[in-house]
């Protein structure tokens, strides 16, 4: 059994304290995924309102923060669903930059890596990178120039580890669109990380 944290069972919920203790944490969790301050604020508010209603089921079991993040995850997905329905991906959709300049070369090597953009060896392991909070700032900044839906698809896939089918359903897109979005996000992010993190580290 987990120790009850915060409010103990039987006590009435204290949403003001939730806001003080977890508001910033939840906001940052949401804004990284939604990439929109207003939408993130709304998601945090909806989370607390839902938490008030569902408080009886929680009753201080487990960590309060884990419980709230669990609710917030659903609110984030709800937001994507609404946005996907309201603005379906059109014919001339913007999936992100194709970066064909990365592969500009004189014939006969057109379509192969241009020396200026070709990958270099990275000397890093996930374990080292996770510890570096400045790495995550660069990571987040590198996602910023991408279209919102592309960045969100990438985050749902690579950070949250959702399956392709789930992401397609949430964002109301076809799997081919998703693959193009993920490919472009990866192409862009990899290059941006190399320029702004890995080359600077050397």
């Amino acid at each position: 059994m987990n120790e009850p944290q915060g409010t103990s069972p039987g006590e009435s919920p204290d949403p003001g304290r939730w806001l003080d203790d977890h508001g910033d944490y939840l906001f940052k969790y949401a804004v990284f995924r939604l990439r929109d301050n207003t939408a993130a604020e709304d998601a945090v508010q909806e989370t607390f309102l839902a938490a008030l209603k569902a408080y009886k089921q929680f009753e201080g079991r487990g960590s309060e923060r884990t419980w709230l993040v669990g609710i917030l995850k659903h609110k984030v997905v709800d937001h994507f669903r609404r946005a996907g329905r309201e603005a379906p991906l059109g014919e001339e959709s913007d999936e992100g930059p194709a970066h064909s300049e990365f592969f500009e070369r004189p014939e006969p090597w057109q379509g192969h890596w241009n020396n200026d953009y070709a990958p270099n060896e990275w000397h890093a392991t996930p374990a080292e990178l996770i510890e570096r909070s400045d790495f995550w700032k660069v990571f987040n900044d590198c996602l910023s120039p991408l279209p919102q839906r592309t960045a969100s698809a990438f985050t749902l896939r690579e950070v949250d580890g959702l399956k392709s089918e789930e992401i397609c359903e949430i964002l109301s897109i076809k799997v081919n669109n998703l693959w193009v979005m993920l490919h472009r996000a990866r192409l862009h992010l990899r290059n941006c990380l190399e320029l702004n993190w890995f080359r600077r580290e050397e």
Binding site: K28, A118, A124, P126, E158
Partner: protein
């Protein structure tokens, strides 16, 4: 002598393959798809051969996997987003809304 001949042969094979196989631009798209679905036998063979002769695409694939592995290690949200978090204005708006609800 034999080594020199072997190197020359290897170089020619690589050069020939690079002309025959899908380009790097096509290959990086396949690399991304290989993280989403299982590739057909033909796609797998083309990819393997391309990676055998192209260190750049090899690194590209390693980097995508490194990014995935690192991102899935669940960093704290505070690491991603700098700044204090909720604005005072938003905080007060949410506080009012929650008090009305109580």
């Amino acid at each position: 002598m034999a080594q020199k001949l072997y190197d020359k042969l290897k170089h020619s094979i690589r050069y020939w393959l690079l002309r025959k196989l899908p380009t790097c631009q096509q290959t990086v798209e396949k690399i991304s798809q290989s993280m989403e679905r299982s590739l057909s036998l033909r796609e797998r063979i083309n990819l393997k051969l391309h990676l055998w002769i192209c260190a750049w695409c090899q690194w590209y694939m390693e980097h995508l996997h490194l990014i995935r592995e690192t991102a899935r290690a669940k960093p704290e949200p505070a690491d991603f987003v700098s700044g204090p978090g909720l604005s005072n204005e938003a905080r007060e708006r949410i506080r009012r809304r929650l008090t009305n609800q109580n």
